[in-house]
Amino acid sequence: MPSETPPPPEAPAPPATVDAIVRVRGLRAAYGDVTILEDVSFDVKRGEVFVILGGSGCGKSTLLKHLIGLIEPAAGTIELDGTDLTASTPAERRELLRRFGVLFQSGALFSGMTLEQNVALPLQEFTPLPREAISRLAQLKLSLVDLDGYEAYRPDEISGGMQKRAGVARALALDPPIVFFDEPSAGLDPISAAELDQLILDLRDSLGTTMVIVTHELASIYAVADRCIVLDKARQTIVAEGHPATLRDESDDPYVRSFFNREPALAGRGGR
């Protein structure tokens, strides 16, 4: 193992050859016979914080799992950084995916490893860094999410919100050019949530990281989102796209307005 420090594995994204780092066209998401989303098309631009909104159970996590190649779309295409995910071989897909940071809604930390080992794993696997540097780096990432002192804990020895934060640290281990976060601030107190928002903005500004985030926290949406899409369970597709403040003030769609104004949805649209 070389002792001189090699360059970090992934330098910040190269100059934008493709403007849209994620390009989704005509996506249909289904579990077996049950369609969850239909005709979903959108672009995520390089270096923006892109937020996916929608009611509980409308298919946000499902959409995210499509974007990271865990589920095959029933129809439509997904391009990541110019590569068609649906047409790529498993090896190509793995190569593509290892450059992404992913936070699952459940955290999905490796239960057999300590927090430090969790964060260190991608570093060990994909960088030639010496053991000591990896350990330092892992501790640093954990302290980014305020988990100093918990390096040796296992996932089942920490709280739900702490697991979420450790998941964020693991997703950021390789300084990925794009991250996918599923409800990063769920289960966090207002202060931790605000700190996470700040971290998201800092990463965008310092490393140019593109962020695709699913969240329900209105406050955090206004704070971080450059652009958002709103999914509706009843219509099974995107019902609005734009800056959250603009959507709140100007959208004609009753569902979107209810969503941003935090009021019960109007009766008479497929239930309550």
Binding site: V34, L70, R94, E95, R98, V102, S106, A108, A234, R272
Partner: protein
Amino acid sequence: MNVVASAATMELEDFVLRLTGPLTLETTAPLWRQAALLGATDGHDARIDVEGVPRCDTAGAALLIHLRRLLGGVAIEGASEQVRFMLDVMDRPCPEPPTAPPADRRPGMVETLGTFATQVLRNAADTVEYIGGLIAGFGEIALHPRRLRWPDTIVYMARTGADALGIVVMINGLMGLILAFQMGAQMRQYGADTYVADVVGMSIIQELGPLMTAILVCGRSGSAFAAEIGTMKVNEEVAALDTMGLERTRFLVMPKMVALLLMMPLLVVFADLAGVFGGMVIGTTYLDQPIGVYLGNTIARIGLWDVGQGLIKGEAYAIVIAAVGCLRGLQTGKGAQGVGVSATSAVVSGIFLIIVVDAILTVIFHAL
């Protein structure tokens, strides 16, 4: 406090369904049973009278709503303020779900067959892909042994080998004991009891030692592998591995596989020794053979190749146990139930395959 659970009653009189008493979780059970006997009102002007109901909880409101639907949407009269409020809160429209759940549809026979066939083919394809991954995994480790996750492997070696030693020794000792006793009782009649040492030694070393060990290890470790990987699958840890670009085979399967391959020969050797010892106990007591004679007979009969056959079988079983356990784990469906199913099927299909492999190897060794 001395709370007397006051009862609620319901009676039907002139198409007026009259309820009295508080309608709560405790009081409504008999009324539901009574309600099952009510029929439609055939256009009569029915109504529900709740004048005598001082209060109701969600269960009471649910009953009232149920009764109203049952009677064809009749009026509920005389409700107290609390009851009315409860009804307002609880009586929400039940929209049809936008997409009917798939279970509601009964597929026809052709479709069932088709689905089944695709399922079988897909499973077969997955299994072939998995086996391919295993072979690639072995190749990788042979070329770069450092790529194996040794710390994990050592943990599994302890769990599958050291921890199993006691039970393996005990069971195989008992096997030798039983075998020698059964053989001895029969062979004694023909004065052939000097051959008991040969027969017991050969059976244990060529066949029963490795087989019993494999069945034990399959039950202990095969199921544990399946449950562990299954739980990781349910917790999305496997998905996380995938998205991190880490191969499932290398992370989840190879450490377990290598650990078993390293431990199995040791377990088999201990099993052989224990089995021979068990036989010797019977030989020296029940059959009155001196220890030296019994052991001498055993050693004279058993060659290195006989032990080798047992060890080869043991390694083959190890591959089967690890491969099946991990495959079942990776195939785990949803939830805690899925993990249970995987663990069970890891043992069942593991033991089945062990016997099949045993048969094949026995035939091959005899042909050699």
